[in-house]
C-alpha cells in the first residue's frame, strides 16, 4: 500500500490584524491508497484549513505534506493548480456547479484545463463517469433542473473525471436531507469499494460511521485517530429509513 497523503508536523498560522492565529498546531498522519477517511471536528477545529492544505489550495507554514509522493510545500501557485488538476477531485457542500451549463459540461470542466485530453476523450470520459454515478439519463440537464442529490452526483462525477489519486469531500452531505445523504454516502462507499481513496470532512457523527477511519480534530490538533471496527452500510441505512413519498 502506498501513501497517498503523508503529513508531518503540519502547522498553519494566520495573521489576523496583529494577532497570530494558529489554525493547525502540528498534525501528522498518513492516508493510504484505498482508504476512506473522515476528518471530523467542530467549527474552528482547523478541519477546513487542513482540507485546504490537503487540496493544495493552501500551503502549510511549517511541516511537510506529500501528495502521492510529491512535496507540495514549496510549489508555486501554477504548479499546485496543475497538481489539483491531475491528482485531486473536490466535492463541495454547495455542489458548486456552473449555472446554465449542462451536467455533462460541468463534468468536463477539469479536463478542459488539461490540454493532454482531446475533446473526444473528454466527452467520453465525462459520459462514462456520469453513468457511473447513475445520471446517464440526466447528462443534458441544467443544474436548476436537478434535485440537490442529483447535483451532488454531478459534482462527484466531476471529481472523478480526471481519475484523481484522492477525492476530497467538504461536508458533501451538509446541504442534503437524511435520505439523500445516505444515497450519496452509499455512492461514496461504492467508489471506495472500487478502490478510490477518499477523505471526507464532516461534523456529523452518523456520516462518519460509513467510513473506515475517523480523524478527530480539536483546536488544531488531532485528538483521536482510529480505525472503525464495524463499518456501517449506507445502503442498508437507507433501506431502514421510513418510507417517504419523494417530493421533487
Amino acid at each position: 500500500m502506498t501513501d497517498i497523503i503523508k503529513v508531518d508536523h503540519l502547522k498553519r498560522e494566520f495573521i489576523v490584524g496583529d494577532q497570530k492565529v494558529l489554525a493547525l498546531r502540528g498534525i501528522s498522519f498518513t492516508v493510504q491508497q484505498g482508504e476512506f477517511v473522515t476528518i471530523m471536528g467542530t467549527s474552528g477545529s482547523g478541519k477546513s484549513t487542513l482540507l485546504n492544505i490537503l487540496g493544495c489550495l493552501d500551503t502549510p507554514t511549517e511541516g511537510e505534506y506529500l501528495l502521492d509522493g510529491i512535496s507540495v510545500r514549496t510549489m508555486s501557485k501554477n504548479e499546485r493548480a496543475r497538481l489539483r488538476n491531475m491528482k485531486i477531485g473536490f466535492v463541495f457542500q454547495t455542489y458548486n456547479l456552473l449555472p446554465r451549463t449542462t451536467a455533462l459540461e460541468n463534468v468536463e470542466l477539469p479536463l478542459m484545463y488539461n490540454s493532454a485530453v482531446s475533446a473526444k476523450e473528454r466527452r467520453e470520459k465525462s459520459m462514462h463517469v456520469l453513468e457511473a454515478v447513475g445520471l446517464a439519463e440526466r447528462m443534458y440537464h441544467m443544474p436548476n433542473q436537478m434535485s440537490g442529490g442529483q447535483q451532488q452526483r454531478v459534482a462527484i462525477a466531476r471529481a472523478l473525471v480526471n481519475d484523481p489519486v484522492i477525492i476530497l469531500a467538504d461536508e458533501a452531505t451538509g446541504n442534503l436531507d437524511t435520505h439523500t445523504s445516505y444515497e450519496i454516502m452509499s455512492l461514496f462507499q461504492q467508489l471506495h469499494s472500487d478502490g478510490k481513496t477518499i477523505a471526507f470532512v464532516t461534523h456529523e457523527p452518523d456520516i462518519a460511521l460509513f467510513s473506515q477511519r475517523s480523524i478527530m480534530l480539536r483546536d488544531g490538533r488531532i485528538t483521536r485517530d482510529e480505525k472503525r471496527k464495524k463499518i456501517g452500510s449506507a445502503a442498508e441505512s437507507l433501506a431502514a429509513l421510513p418510507v417517504e413519498v419523494e417530493v421533487e
Partner: protein, 407 residues
C-alpha cells in the same frame, strides 16, 4: 490549457448571458458606427470640395498682379495694379518648361443685350488655351481662330446661363449678334454646362472673347488682369509655379530681396487650403465619435467587474479543478475582446449602412475608406483588451479558498 478551450469557455459565458452581452456591445456598436459614419461624412465633404476645385481647371496656375501700391500716398487695390503686360505672357509662354497651356486674361464688366433681353455679365478676354485650362467644352459652334485674335475680331463664346438669360430656351445663339457695352459681338460658340464651382460661383455665367478685342475695343487698356495656365502634370505644379515666379521677377526687374508685384497661385494650393477646413472638421467628428467608443469601453469594464463579482464562486471552482491564474485572466480577457470585436463588426456594418442611408436620403457626399474601418476596428479591439484587463486581472488574483466559499 489550450486557447481553444478557453475560447469555448468564454463564448459559453457570453451566450449564457446574451442580453447583458448585447447591451454591453451596444456601447461599442454605437461608438464604432459613429466613428465610421462621421469619418465617411467628413471625408465625403472633403472629397466633394476637392472634386469641385479640380473641376475648376486642369492643374491650373493663376498669375495675378498684386502688391502694396501707393499712388500719391493713397493705397490702392491690387486689381488696380497695371504691372502685368502681354510681354509677361510671351515670356512665360516661351521660357516655362512645365506648362502645357497658357492664356492671358483681360476682364471687362458690362451689360449684354440681345433683342429685348439684357443680362449683366463679366467679359473675359482670353485665347484658345483658356478652354482647356478651365475645362470648358464647346457645346455648339467653335472657338476663335488665331486670325480673329490677331485682328481683335468682335466674336464671343457664351455660357449656358447667358444663353438662357438672353435667348431663352430652345434657341441656338450661334451666328446671332449680341451687344456688349454697345459693341456688337457675333456669338460663334456656346460652352457646355459646368455648374457651380467650389465657392458657389456659377461657372456658366461667362462671356469669352479674344483678349485683344477686350483690351482694345471694350476696356481700352494695355495691361492684363492676369495670366492663366495649366501645369503639364499635377506633380510639377509646384515646380511650374516656382519657375513662373522666377521668370516674372526677371520680367518685372524685381531686385533680390524685394517683394513680388504679382501673385502666383496654383490649384493645388487652393485644394490644400479649402480641404484643410474639412480635414479639421473630419478630425473633430472622429474625436467626438471616438469619445463614445471610450464610453463603450468603460461599459465593458463595468460589466466585466459585475461578471467577475457575480462569478466569484465559479472562478474559485475553476481554480480548484486546476485553472491557473493565467487561464482565468485569458478567459475574461477573451470575453471582453469578444464583446468588443463582435460589437465592432456590427458597428462597422451599421456605420457603413447608415452612411449609405445618409447618402441616399440627404444626398450628402459619403466616402468610406478602408483605413477608417481598420482604424475603428483596431481601436475597439484595443478597447476590449484595455478595459477588460483590469477586471480579468482581478479575477485571476482571487484566492481560490475565499472565492469558492464566496456568498
Amino acid at each position: 490549457m489550450n486557447i481553444t478551450n478557453l475560447f469555448r469557455i468564454s463564448l459559453k459565458a457570453l451566450v449564457s448571458n446574451k442580453f447583458r452581452a448585447l447591451l454591453t456591445m451596444l456601447g461599442i456598436i454605437i461608438g464604432v458606427a459613429a466613428v465610421i459614419a462621421m469619418l465617411a461624412i467628413g471625408q465625403g465633404s472633403k472629397k466633394s470640395i476637392q472634386d469641385e476645385i479640380s473641376k475648376m481647371g486642369s492643374n491650373m496656375i493663376m498669375v495675378q498682379p498684386g502688391a502694396d501700391m501707393f499712388s500719391g500716398g493713397a493705397r490702392m487695390s491690387a486689381s488696380a495694379n497695371q504691372s502685368m503686360v502681354l510681354e509677361d505672357y510671351d515670356a512665360l509662354k516661351a521660357q516655362s518648361n512645365y506648362i502645357s497651356a497658357i492664356s492671358p486674361m483681360v476682364n471687362a464688366s458690362g451689360q449684354s443685350i440681345y433683342g429685348a433681353n439684357n443680362w449683366p455679365v463679366g467679359m473675359q478676354g482670353v485665347n484658345q488655351d483658356y478652354l482647356s485650362i478651365r475645362k470648358y467644352g464647346i457645346g455648339s459652334g467653335r472657338i476663335f481662330t488665331e486670325r480673329e485674335i490677331n485682328t481683335a475680331a468682335k466674336v464671343c463664346l457664351i455660357g449656358q446661363t447667358v444663353v438662357e438669360e438672353l435667348f431663352g430656351e430652345g434657341v441656338d445663339p450661334v451666328g446671332k449678334s449680341i451687344r456688349y457695352n454697345k459693341i456688337p459681338f457675333e456669338v460663334i460658340g456656346v460652352l457646355t454646362e459646368k455648374g457651380e464651382n467650389g465657392m458657389g460661383q456659377d461657372q456658366d455665367d461667362v462671356l469669352l472673347a479674344p483678349y485683344t478685342t477686350v483690351q482694345k475695343r471694350v476696356v481700352a487698356i494695355t495691361y492684363l488682369n492676369g495670366i492663366y495656365c495649366s501645369a503639364t502634370t499635377e506633380d510639377v505644379s509646384d515646380k511650374a509655379k516656382a519657375e513662373m515666379e522666377a521668370i516674372l521677377r526677371v520680367q518685372h526687374q524685381i531686385k533680390e530681396g524685394d517683394d513680388d508685384d504679382f501673385h502666383v497661385r496654383s490649384q493645388k494650393e487652393m485644394l490644400t487650403m479649402f480641404s484643410s477646413t474639412s480635414s479639421v472638421m473630419t478630425i473633430l467628428l472622429a474625436v467626438i465619435a471616438g469619445i463614445s467608443l471610450i464610453v463603450g469601453g468603460i461599459g465593458i469594464m463595468n460589466i466585466m467587474f459585475v461578471s467577475v463579482t457575480e462569478r466569484t464562486r465559479e472562478i474559485g471552482l475553476r481554480m480548484a479543478v486546476g485553472a491557473r491564474g493565467l487561464d482565468i485572466l485569458t478567459q475574461f480577457l477573451i470575453e471582453a475582446v469578444l464583446i468588443s470585436i463582435v460589437g465592432g463588426v456590427i458597428g462597422v456594418a451599421i456605420g457603413v449602412g447608415s452612411s449609405f442611408v445618409i447618402k441616399s436620403m440627404l444626398n450628402w457626399p459619403i466616402v468610406i475608406t478602408t483605413s477608417s474601418i481598420v482604424l475603428s476596428f483596431a481601436v475597439c479591439t484595443f478597447t476590449g483588451v484595455f478595459f477588460g484587463w483590469y477586471p480579468a486581472k482581478k479575477a485571476a488574483n482571487l484566492d481560490p479558498i475565499d472565492a469558492i466559499r464566496y456568498e
